[in-house]
Symmetry: C2
Subunit: 274 residues, 2 copies
């Protein structure tokens, strides 16, 4: 099994922490704050982080494509170009292998999901969110999440989700929908509906090395504040477990299939027509 | 007594809420989210909000200068120009009145403090923060605050403050220092030191209409999460009361004096030399 997931969003939205929480492993190194005198990079970088992990007794070859620098400058026009380019370069690399005369086992580096982190402003999508998602939703499976959702009360989350959904609809942005298969059992359909209702997921991440002891002795992954402890795995605190179910369990196959059968094929047809 | 305070920061950092919390009054109207189809403004607006309030039995004529649009575009280069302009236009207006032949009572619209909201990224200052503060610290009393500080744990706040202070020092940015007067009594000196140690203040704002009942029956202004209630007036939760003391009590006079005697005079001298 292999999964290639890209993370995109401004610095400080908890992207590294969320990836580590998703796989319960310090995959992404803690982001070293640049020394004040350090040269700020002028363009978005594309970093590949590989990890072999075990999920449900299954070996998973995971690649996280990180995009530091996105949205961090004063002027961010075209900060999405390097991201678009890497998605299309990977389609190109796949096509080249597909078309080669002596075909060996194809190495698939295509991106199966792009997790886009939305700032928890509580108002509406920002211009940069719309500009980015407009350009990418037809090229990659887009999974927008509300970052650092422990910033928002339950009411604020509900309002914000409603607003984001209507912003996306207004701009014609299609995000990844978990498909419902006819042959699925009651339980799976219920779960798929729970996932569909919660999108965009309001996520909270927790440093896997900092755990808390609940009053019943259970170990909690979360964030500790003077006024209480956020439990990342508690569905009444955030949608983390729904995102995890979607990415790592129920819909990993659907993400890879849609990438291969729909997004890549669309790109390939256009490419061959040029 | 009169005070003119400007608020600057990206949309969604809790600026309106903080102003309302500072004066325990819905001075700033809740920011109406623009309809998705609404034209986004292309430049920063300057809005003046006037309120007559009573503080400690003293009537205070308060003007809040709001700056919607700052940092909200994809390209924000020069989004600080309208802000610089309003500060200097007000110095100009004062100079004109000062110099007029038949002087009446001068109407003073000069800005006494600029509260700059820093996103709680947990890393370091963003480029836009540095670019803005570099250009403004010699023209207006700069009071940077860490917005929505309930996003950060106590350790994260401590690290972030340290980092911000060193970023500011590195870039030669001078923020407003509460002066210590020799004749002040022990208690005032202790308070001034507490204020000085806490800068930049980690603030949390609370909608004045949503209050909570503490277990002892006391009314709390705060934010209610499933995992606990943030009490805005609790110094172990955030630095709100320190900011309030500085702005509305102990240092309101110092802010107006520095504006009149130092910042305005510096600007006036340069202006007359041109
Ligand atoms: N409130 C809150 N803070 C978080 C969350 N996840 C990470 N953080 C904190 O936010 C800061 C930046 O996190 P990081 O993962 O480095 O963000 P990145 O720059 O997007 O990769 C760190 O101080 C984290 O501890 C979250 O879900 N909620
Ligand atoms: N976590 C947190 N949220 C806040 C705080 N202050 C305001 N908010 C919420 O953030 C959202 C935007 O607040 P608003 O005052 O309109 O921000 P503005 O756009 O900067 O004026 C609203 O949903 C507020 O309830 C705060 O101190 N902490």
């Amino acid at each position: 099994f292999q999964l290639t997931a890209m993370v995109v969003g401004e610095s400080g939205l908890g992207k590294s922490t969320l990836i580590n929480t998703l796989f319960n492993l310090a995959i992404c190194p803690p982001r070293e704050s640049l020394h004040p005198a350090a040269e700020r990079p002028k363009t978005v970088a594309i970093d590949n982080i590989h990890a072999d992990i075990e999920e449900n007794g299954v070996r998973l070859r995971l690649t996280v494509v990180d995009t530091p620098g996105f949205g961090d400058l004063v002027n961010n026009g075209s900060c999405w170009d390097p991201i678009l380019k890497t998605i299309e370069d990977r389609y190109e690399a796949y096509l080249t292998q597909e078309n080669s005369v002596k075909r060996k086992k194809i190495i698939d580096t295509r991106i199966h999901a792009c997790i886009y982190f939305i700032q928890p402003s509580g108002h509406s999508l920002k211009q940069i969110d719309i500009e980015f998602m407009r350009r990418l939703h037809e090229k990659v499976n887009l999974i927008p999440v509300i970052a650092k959702a422990d910033t928002m009360t339950e009411d604020e989350v509900a309002d914000f989700k409603e607003r984001i959904v209507s912003d996306l609809a207004f701009h014609g942005i299609r995000i990844f929908q978990a498909p419902i298969y006819d042959e699925e059992d009651e339980e799976n359909i219920a779960e798929t509906e729970a996932i569909a209702r919660a999108i965009p997921f309001a996520v909270v991440g927790a440093d896997p090395t900092k755990t808390f002891r609940a009053s019943n002795g259970r170990l909690i992954r979360g964030r500790g504040y003077p006024w209480g402890i956020v439990d990342v795995d508690d569905p009444s605190h955030c949608d983390f477990i729904l995102l995890r179910r979607m990415l790592v369990h129920s819909h990993m196959e659907a993400l890879r299939e849609r990438t291969a059968d729909v997004l890549y094929e669309t790109w390939r047809t256009q490419r061959m027509l040029e």
